[in-house]
């Protein structure tokens, strides 16, 4: 009798039970308030903030997409080092200013921050809030759906077909909704902590084990790569993608875009103290860099073993099943699901937050009490979970096109969020114009004239955004805050 499918199901089931249990346990400390649901009431310690930040930051891409990227582009992929070191440092430099504002003015959302820093602008302040909140909402909602879509096949592989991809996707989306519904931000942070520990152990073990078993050891992998595929070891990579323009625009766009992504931004509010924020930033920089230590060996191993593999993002599970014991493979695949889930539950939570705190509360029920908003947030979680499932199952092309704008679109919002921290004269009119026009520019350079002059759309949006913000402020002049 082949026991492996049942072993795979047992591993996945154990993982699901642990997550639900942790989420339920987190409710012992919750308060039935919207602040607790949105940002844990700002009570996280170093360990939970470190893991909820790092695990949220590292998605399914970290676990499987990176190997696929090295397979296609070689060591050029390590442009990635910019956006694993700089965001945690910016979490300290920028996050502490945002944290202080959140404590002194009870900010608990994306829009709260904009309404405060661009206050007094009437229709322009509200317009800016709407543009930023709605674009953030759309981008992140689609990202959430794509996370599940990208890893649902792992259920099928880990269970050797006992669980289909479609059932796996349903389990994935349901688990997201359960974690957010039960525990809000606290449930997400606690489960992220468990998942963050699990995913780094599983990934590092796999990225050492697979190259060692398949090709001897990591140094032999590099030596073989230098002999057989040398163009994988320098720029612009075998596909010729990493030109100087692409190199710069890619890291700049992703780094700045990630800093102001709604699900990342909320984590600046969650720290209990500045000390917590500082050390969570430091340990996040270590975690986010260390996790990739052996990734180049893993990606090059994949290229050497499977020279013409059609779907590079699926090479990690492929190699696990081919070169490691099944029990190990199933555990690591559960780790890959943890990487995806720790990002998508934070994303589902952040879009719920935008919907309730930035749209429902100010525009639909301004006088709603805490209990009402808390219940609305939980109901919104279920509805948005359903929408995520619908997007995932229908896989409509238009959504994938909009998703292509996501990082570029949020990078264009970076100046609008950060400049007011350093320059108080910035005006609401300038903020509104900057956000609106730069998002249009990102759309044009993504779909109409793609990446003009070889420069990624995000950099065009970013340049437009900062230029308009400064020029329009100088013209309109702030009345002061």
């Amino acid at each position: 009798m082949d026991y492996e499918p049942y072993l795979g199901v047992a591993v996945l089931l154990s993982w699901l039970i642990v997550l639900v249990a942790v989420s339920v346990l987190s409710t012992r400390y919750r308060k039935l308030s919207v602040a607790d649901f949105a940002i844990t009431g700002g009570t996280l310690g170093t360990l939970t903030l470190l893991f909820t930040y790092s695990a949220t930051y590292h998605s399914a891409y970290a676990f499987m997409g990176t190997t696929g990227a090295i397979y296609v582009h070689g060591i050029s992929w390590w442009n990635n080092v910019h956006w694993v070191v700089l965001p945690p440092i910016l979490m300290w430099f920028i996050g502490r200013k945002v944290w202080k504002l959140s404590k002194s003015h009870e900010l608990m959302s994306y829009g709260d921050y904009l309404r405060f820093t661009y206050s007094g602008g009437g229709i322009y302040t509200e317009g800016l809030n709407l543009v930023a909140s709605v674009t953030g909402f759309i981008y992140v909602l689609l990202y959430t759906a794509i996370q599940g879509l990208g890893v649902s096949y792992l259920f099928q592989m880990a269970s050797k077909g006992l669980i289909s991809s479609d059932v796996g996707l349903a389990i994935f989306v349901l688990l997201n909704a359960v974690i957010v519904f039960v525990g809000g931000a606290r449930g997400v942070a606690w489960t992220d902590t468990v998942q963050g520990i699990f995913m780094i152990l599983a990934y590092v073990a796999a990225s050492i084990y697979i190259p060692t078993v398949a090709l001897g050891n990591i140094f032999q992998v590099y030596s073989k790569a230098a002999q057989e595929i040398p163009q994988w070891l320098y720029l612009p990579g075998p596909a010729g993608l990493y030109t100087p323009q692409y190199w710069v625009s890619q890291w700049l766009t992703i780094t700045l875009g990630m800093v102001v992504m709604p699900h990342i931004w909320l984590r600046y509010y969650m720290a209990k103290s500045l000390r917590v924020l500082k050390w969570a930033s430091v340990f996040s920089a270590i975690y986010m860099t260390y996790i990739y230590t052996f990734t180049p060996a893993l990606g090059l191993t994949a290229k050497l073993l499977y020279p013409k593999y059609p779907v590079p993002d699926r090479l990690v599970p492929e190699m696990l099943l081919a070169y490691t014991p099944f029990a190990f493979a199933a555990v690591v695949m559960a780790g890959a699901l943890a990487a995806a889930l720790s990002t998508s539950d934070s994303q589902l939570h952040s879009v719920t937050n935008i919907l309730v705190v930035d749209i429902y509360k100010p525009y639909i029920r301004p006088n709603a009490d805490e209990r009402h908003l808390y219940n609305v947030a939980r109901i919104a979680t279920i509805i948005l979970g359903g929408i995520v499932a619908m997007i995932s199952y229908t896989r409509p092309g238009i959504f994938l096109n909009i998703l292509a704008m996501a990082t570029a679109g949020t990078a264009a919002l970076f100046p609008i969020f950060i400049v007011p921290l350093m320059w108080r004269r910035v005006t609401p009119v300038a903020g509104f114009l900057s956000a609106s026009v730069s998002e249009i520019i990102v759309g044009i350079t993504t779909f109409v004239i793609k990446d003009p002059l070889g420069i990624a759309s995000g950099l065009w949006g970013l340049t437009t955004s900062i230029s308009i913000l400064i020029l329009a402020t100088l013209i309109t002049r702030s009345r002061g805050k």
Partner: protein
Amino acid sequence: MEKILVVAIIAAILLSNPPILTYVNEYCKTSLLTYGVPTLWLYLTSIWGAVVVLFIITAALNGDGGEGD
């Protein structure tokens, strides 16, 4: 100390981007491996690893109040 970290970050950005990176890349084409690992990977990791170490030192020496030394 924070000022030193900021200077180090600026230096790291300059070192890990064109035009300096273009010259380093030319060297990487002829010396694919250094100490048994990809030269380009080692170069970028060393630069940003140093920034992370400096970040740790800065955090350890800095008070918890936020800005400044």
